[in-house]
Amino acid sequence: MKDFFKTTRFKVIICIVALLFGFMIQAAYTGTLSSLPSKIIGTVTAPFQAVATTVSGWFGGFFDRLTLADELLDENQELKKEIQELRGQLTDLDRYKEENANYAQQLQIQQAHPEYKMVTASVIGRDASARFYAFTIDKGTSDGIKNQDPVITSDGLVGLVMEAGPNYSTVMTILDPAFKLGVYTSQSRDTGVVSGDTALSKEGQTKLRYLSRTSTAAEGDMVLTSGMGDIAPKDLLIGTIKSVKPEKNGITKYAVLEPVVDVSSVSTVMVLIEH
C-alpha cells in the first residue's frame, strides 16, 4: 500500500480532491452555493428531472397509497366504476386542468398587480437531505430568473431563488433560518423580520422576529411583506400569527407564523422576475 502513494493514480486522486476544494472555495467566495461544474450538472439533469416528475405524478404517490391501503382500497372500489365511464374523456384532461389552474393563478396575480412580471415554474426536484424543504424548479436564467427573486403562489410567498442556472433554479423556503425578509402585521402595523427557526420548521412554521416590546400583534393577524430592501414587493402574504411571545432578552417579542403556503408540497410556483 505504501507504493500506492508513489503511483500516478494517487496523484490524480489528489488533483481531484484539490479541484473539489477549489470548487468549494470558489462557491464560498462568490457567496453562492454552486460552482461551474454544479451548474453544468444542473443544466444537464434538469430535463430528466422534469420528465421524471411528470411520470411520477401520473403514478401519484405509490408508497403513500401503500401506507393508506385500507382506506384507499374502499374508496378505490367505489371510484373504479365511475372512472371506467369517464376514462374515455380523461386522456388529456388532467394536463389541461393543471395548465389552466396555473394560468388562472398567474392571471389572478397579474390582474391585481399589473406591474409584476412572472414566470410560471414546476417543482422538479426535492432532495431528501435538502435543508428546510428547499426545492428545484424547471426555469432559470434563460427565462429571466436571477438570485433573490421572490417565489410565490396565488396564496402567498413561498421563498426566494437561492441559485439560478440556465434552465433550473433552487428555491430557499420561508422556513429556512437563512431566509430573512422585512414584514409588517395587518392589524397592528408592527414591523419585523420573518426568518426561519429550526425548532419551528419541523412543524412547518416560521418566526417573526424583532417585534417591539409594546407591539399589539396578536393571534390571527396576517403578516405581509413590507417591501423593505427591495427583495420582495410590498403586501405579499406570508402567513398568520399563531402566538406572540417575549424573546429571552426581554427587549423584543417574536411571533410564531403559520405560512399560508405548504412549502413542503407545493408543485407549481411563480417567480417574480420584475416587480
Binding site: S35, P37, G61, F63, D64, P177
Partner: protein, 163 residues
C-alpha cells in the same frame, strides 16, 4: 463501455432521488447516488471510485443545497477508502459491501450534520434524528440493490468484452 453505463446509472439514480414523491416513506427518502459511487469504488478501482464519487457528490450538493464540492470531497475520500478496504482487508461479498456502504453513509451523515447544521443552528438535533439519520438508514437499506445493479453492469460488460 461500462463506464458509460455507470454514468447513466448515476444519472438515473439522481433523477429518482430528486423526483418529488418518489420512494417517500413518512417523508423520508433515500439518497441513491452515494451508494452507487461507493459500489463502483468497491467493484472497480480506487481511481474510478474517486471520479464517480466526486461527480455523485457534486450532484448531491446541487440537489441538497450544500456548498458545491462538500459532498464531492466526502464521497471521493470515502470511495477511495472503501476501495482500499476491499483490496487489502475484506472479501468482496454483497453483505460485506452493504455493511461497509452503510458505515460510509453514517460517516457522511455525521460530517453533513456537523458542518451544515451543528455549527450554525441551535436546536438542530431534531434535523439529525428526524431527517438525516432516517434518510441514511433508508439509503443503507437500498445499498444491496444498488450494489447488485453495479455488479450486474460490470459482469455484463466484461462478458460482452469477452474477458
Amino acid at each position: 463501455m461500462r463506464w458509460v453505463f455507470y454514468a447513466l446509472l448515476l444519472l438515473l439514480l439522481y433523477t429518482m432521488q430528486t423526483t418529488p414523491g418518489l420512494f417517500g416513506i413518512a417523508g423520508v427518502r433515500p439518497a441513491l447516488v452515494a451508494p452507487a459511487a461507493l459500489a463502483i469504488a468497491i467493484y472497480e478501482n480506487e481511481l474510478a471510485g474517486a471520479i464517480y464519487g466526486a461527480v455523485a457528490g457534486l450532484m448531491w450538493d446541487l440537489s441538497a443545497m450544500r456548498l458545491s464540492g462538500f459532498n464531492g470531497v466526502i464521497l471521493c475520500v470515502l470511495c477511495v477508502a472503501c476501495s482500499f478496504f476491499f483490496i487489502f482487508w475484506v472479501r468482496k461479498t454483497v453483505l460485506n459491501a452493504s455493511l461497509v456502504c452503510a458505515l460510509a453513509l453514517l460517516v457522511q451523515c455525521g460530517l453533513d450534520y456537523l458542518f451544515n447544521f451543528f455549527f450554525f443552528y441551535k436546536d438542530s438535533l431534531y434535523i439529525l434524528t428526524r431527517q438525516l439519520l432516517p434518510g441514511t438508514l433508508y439509503t443503507a437499506l437500498c445499498c444491496p440493490l444498488i450494489l447488485l445493479a453495479v455488479l450486474g453492469i460490470r459482469r455484463a460488460c466484461l462478458r460482452g468484452e469477452g474477458t
